[in-house]
Amino acid sequence: MADEVTFFIDGRPCTAAAGDNLVEAAADNGVYIPTLCHYKGHKPLGTCRVCMVRVDGREAAACTFGVRDGMRVDVDAPELADARKALIELLFVERNHFCPACEKSGRCDLQAVAYHMHLTVPRFPYRYVPFTVENFAGKLLIDHNRCILCGRCEEFVRRGDSKVFAMKQRSSEARITVDLALLAEMSANEIAHAVHVCPVGAILAPGQGFDTPIGRRKYDTHRIGEITDGRD
């Protein structure tokens, strides 16, 4: 077992095993650092940058750092909170996120983080670029309007060593796509896992939306910052 070290979040001493992921170590010490791409227990992706903090005086994505003895982390500084909020706002304006009709509402990490940050209206103009809903062989849908290109599906949904999802094209043209041969082999449980891995409502199982009553959805019962083991 790695040595226990002491590090500091906003000046408060915290403890963790050396090398622990900073987002998870902070959560274990009762400090919530917002993130969308991080998937607990898995290697960091560092794609969404929403977990931006200051580590020993330099801005960085917290999920990409392991804890070191004496590390000094700033989370609560107003300029950092504003930068994190701006990143969430950019995600909202980049594609078309209409929470009222989204089946992931109430269990969507993007929505929950936005609520946590008290986001009401983005400071940036909406792009209103039309995206489609793509149906893959009747087994799985991708609503590109809602995809935040975090890459969680690409990295964490696999059959054996093979990736089921992949990114095609670049920048604003980037899209998630599916290996149809692998998809054909996927069970209902594996598809449900893919839906779960997606932090937003981009990956959908056909006809299964809105299956949980209001009041029993993940973030109806807990705010995202209150689920200290919720980095899933």
């Binding site: 009222p100 089946e103 809903v133 149906n135 006809g207 809105f210 299956d211």
Partner: protein, 486 residues
């Protein structure tokens, strides 16, 4: 030189949505023409294209914040058919699912009718159409009749709580899913409506509904000539009835009677495209539906509480049935064409809805857990319910990938478009014929008859915006002479 006038009421107030009324007067101050313009546009029928079919009941209810349950359920009924579930077929909703939806629906009708009559219309009756503007609102009602206002607020709350318990929240719930419902009513949720501890119990609601009806009947006794005659227009009437002729707000056939009450036709709502046409006019975003059998000129009809009580043979709840019998006796069994009697019919439906809610709350099926059914998938679905304001049509088709590629909505208020225009014209003639200047009381008088229809103009055009009203007065040469705006 032509010196006629054009009066514009923009926006119309104490209705849902945003509309405008124009009245054209000729040089002798005779009413030439009066029109209700619906000036908002939304486009739900288009932007639902491409969305997965199971999103429809949740997405399309965003048409409205007053009666989203109606859109939620009409959409759900249509989508039921896409997953192979249809009333009267081999594959139907489970009893629990249908009863949960009915409870939600009657809770919605209860709260919406209460909102309309007590919040929006009772000020006109309490203070008169020429009463002080400052008093003609729910605050004025609360000051003048505190007990009445308190009961109205608690009645609306009760209906909203029924919706919350069945749909998940008071506005824009999500429980009706393709082929069923995703929650039951727990014993604790049921008892909340029965024990009277936190909110008045359902039996109290029935008592208060009868008191509200008595309030109207008392006013009717004192103002019979005005209520019976004001802006009355003979018309056909359409509404949903059960196979045995009973009023049913959730499912049934559509029945049409003429202005005398003679049966014109009864049809399965799946045939609506064959039976109804829709005409467009350049001056309004709201279409003008008509019965194809009677043609564009004569085929207009009315929907809502008044027509529903004109087409049904009985109300399947005892207290409301007694009131229905008195209502029908008033016109000797013939159809009632008195526009202001919409209020009377609406308040009878409040009693009926409360009785239905009471019976459903006592039904143990609501605590059972068989919630979703499936049949043979289809590419098309049509769902129709009687919304508080009248017959509501939802029609969808899907592509092979389950995405919506066709949507047609005929919303309750749309059905009443021609009728509302005629009623506005009748009111304008009553109030403005030959007058040199338009007063606030006159413009409110025109709004009063529009309000009787309880129009939801946002729904009708699937449109966005606030709901004020503007009246403009133009001379015969087209020059703006006077404007009154709220």
């Amino acid at each position: 030189m032509n010196t006629g006038q054009k009066i514009v009421i923009d926006p119309v107030t104490r209705v849902e949505g945003h509309g405008r009324i124009t009245v054209h007067l000729d040089e002798n101050h005779h009413v030439e023409e009066a029109r209700l313009h619906i000036v908002e546009f939304r486009g739900f029928e288009k932007f639902v294209h491409g969305r997965p079919y199971w999103e429809v009941p949740v997405l399309v209810q965003r048409l409205c914040g007053i009666c989203p349950v109606s859109h939620h359920l009409a959409g759900a009924k249509a989508i039921d058919e896409i997953v192979g579930i249809s009333p009267g077929s081999d594959h139907t909703l489970t009893p629990t699912a249908e009863k949960m939806r009915r409870l939600m629906h009657y809770g919605q009708v209860f709260q919406s009718h209460v909102l309309h009559f007590f919040y929006l219309c009772s000020p006109d009756l309490l203070f008169g159409i020429d009463g002080e503007v400052e008093s003609r609102n729910i605050v004025g009602v609360a000051m003048a009749e505190p007990e009445l206002a308190k009961k109205a607020i608690l009645m609306r709350k009760f209906g909203q709580e029924i919706i919350r318990a069945t749909a998940g929240k008071k506005v824009h719930g999500i429980s009706a899913v393709p082929g069923g419902i995703h929650k039951t009513l727990s014993a604790e949720e049921r008892d909340y409506f029965l024990n009277g501890k936190e909110i008045p119990a359902i039996d109290t609601m029935i008592d208060w509904a009868l008191e509200g009806l008595d309030f109207f009947k008392s006013f009717h006794r004192d103002n019979r000539e005005w209520l019976d005659g004001y802006a009355a227009v003979p018309s056909s009437h359409m509404g949903m009835v059960r196979k045995d002729g009973a009023l049913d707000l959730y499912h049934g056939d559509l029945k049409v009677v003429d202005a005398e009450g003679t049966l014109l036709q009864t049809f399965d709502y799946h045939d609506y495209l064959n039976e109804l046409g829709e005409e467009t006019k350049s001056w309004s975003y709201m279409k003008f539906p008509y019965l194809r059998s009677l043609g564009r000129q004569d085929g207009w009809y009315r929907v809502g509480p008044l027509p529903r009580l004109n087409v049904c043979e009985f109300l399947p709840s005892p207290l409301a049935q007694k009131e229905f019998e008195a209502f029908r006796a008033y016109t000797g069994g013939r159809a009632n064409n008195m526009s202001m009697h919409y209020h009377w019919a609406r308040l009878i439906e409040v009693v009926h809805a409360a009785e239905v809610i009471r019976d459903l709350l006592a039904d143990p099926d609501l605590q059972k857990d068989n919630l979703i059914a499936r049949g043979t998938a289809a590419g098309e679905g049509i769902g129709v319910v009687e919304a508080p304001r009248g017959t509501l049509f939802h029609h969808y088709k899907v592509d092979d990938a389950g995405r919506i590629n066709f949507c047609n909505l005929i919303v309750s208020t749309t059905n009443n478009n021609t009728a509302m225009n005629r009623a506005v014209a009748a009111a304008a003639e009553d109030l403005m014929e030959g007058v040199p200047e338009v007063t606030e009381a006159m413009t409110n008088g025109v709004e009063v008859v529009l309000r009787a229809y309880d129009p939801c103009l946002s729904c009708a055009t699937h449109a966005v915006g606030q709901m004020p009203l503007r009246i403009e007065l133009y001379d015969a040469g087209g020059t703006l002479r006077d404007v009154r705006v709220r």
